[in-house]
Structure formats: C-alpha cells, structure tokens
C-alpha cells in the first residue's frame, strides 16, 4: 500500500480551490465552460513561479483566488473571455 502523499496545508488548500473552481465552471452554460476552464488554468498557472516557501504570497494569492471564485460563481455570470 503506497504511503499517502504528504502535502502541506497550503498546498492542499490550493488543490481544493482548484477543484472548487472547476466545479463552479460546471454550472456555467455548456458552450462557455471551456472558456471558464481556460481562465481557471491561466489564473493558477501564471503564479507557478512563486516559491514554495513564500507563504505570505501564497496566502495572498489564495485569498484572491477565493474572492475571484466567489465572483464568477454568481449565476448571472455566464461567460468569461480569455
């Protein structure tokens, strides 16, 4: 039995947020879903150069990400342009 992956709390939070974002994208109109997915990937990947030890930045970005998710979770938002 393989040992479970050890992840820091922050890393776990990022993964949960990523999942939550994709779940939110599922509630969008079918034809626009791809745009949301592209947007989410872009938002996460553009900070991939942040150092793993840079907790302050990571925490800040997590807060930003959560706020952004809250914004586009609103059902009135139907599409996103990337």
């Amino acid at each position: 039995m393989p040992a479970p992956v050890r992840r820091s709390g922050l890393q776990q939070e990022i993964i949960s947020l990523y999942r939550a974002c994709f779940r939110a994208a599922r509630l969008k109109p079918q034809e626009n879903r791809v745009n949301f997915q592209k947007f989410i990937r872009m938002q996460f990947r553009k900070h991939s150069d942040v150092k793993a030890r840079d907790f302050a930045t990571i925490e800040y970005l997590l807060r930003m990400g959560k706020r952004q998710l809250e914004t586009y979770s609103n059902p009135s938002i139907q599409n996103v342009h990337v």
Binding site: I15, R19, R26, R41, F44
Partner: protein, 120 residues
C-alpha cells in the same frame, strides 16, 4: 405573433406524449439492469484510459493502467485534479476531496469507480 405559434406547440406536445407511452417498458428494463449489476470492469478500464488519452498533456503511448499520473504521465497535482474531475463527469458521480486525493493512477481510478455502485 406568439398566438400563431401556439397550435404548433400543442401538436408537438401531443407527439411527445404519444412517444412517451411505449417508452415506459424500456425504462423499466433499464432500471433493473442498473440495480442488478455494476459496471463491467473492462469497460471501466477502457473508459478511464480513454479519458487519460484525451488529455493533451499526456503522451498516448505512455498511458497504461499502472501509470502513475505524476511519475509516468508527467502530470502535476493540478492536472491530476482535472483528471479526477473528468472521471466524475464520465461516470456521473461526485468524488469527495478526500477520496480524490488518493487517486494517483489509472488503476486507482478504476478501483474507486468499481466500488461506487452509483457509477454508470
């Protein structure tokens, strides 16, 4: 303008009902199949592997049941999240975060889906 459309809608609706009546026995057989047997393991394997092959980051030749998402297929933790989400959609199930984190290879995914009786 809209009144002109109305007869057309009712004709359509009548057609719908006519169609729905003979469909009933079919729905019953389907329910029985669903309750008696789960999914065929081979079918699950093929569907999971097809999902992986569909990812543009994945080298189709490296896809196998034993392939670890990270070590063999070169996917990072975020890609792995997307793979698991795709599996959710394919089998119409919702995988809780705790279980999703433990799915690290195609074999893990097949194992998990075969245990879920609501997968179809």
């Amino acid at each position: 303008m809209f009144r002109a459309l109305r007869p057309a809608t009712s004709v359509y609706r009548a057609a719908l009902y006519k169609h729905a009546a003979p469909a009933r026995p079919v729905a019953l057989t389907f329910a029985r199949m669903y309750a008696s047997s789960g999914l065929d393991r081979n079918a699950i394997e093929n569907r999971v592997l097809d999902i992986l092959k569909g990812f543009n980051k994945v080298d189709v030749n490296k896809v196998s049941l034993k392939a670890n998402f990270n070590k063999d297929l070169g996917l990072d933790s975020l890609d792995a999240v997307e793979v698991v989400m795709a599996i959710e959609e394919e089998f119409s199930i919702e995988i809780p975060d705790k279980d999703a984190d433990e799915i690290k290879s195609a074999a893990d995914a097949v194992e998990y889906v075969s245990k879920r009786e609501d997968a179809h």
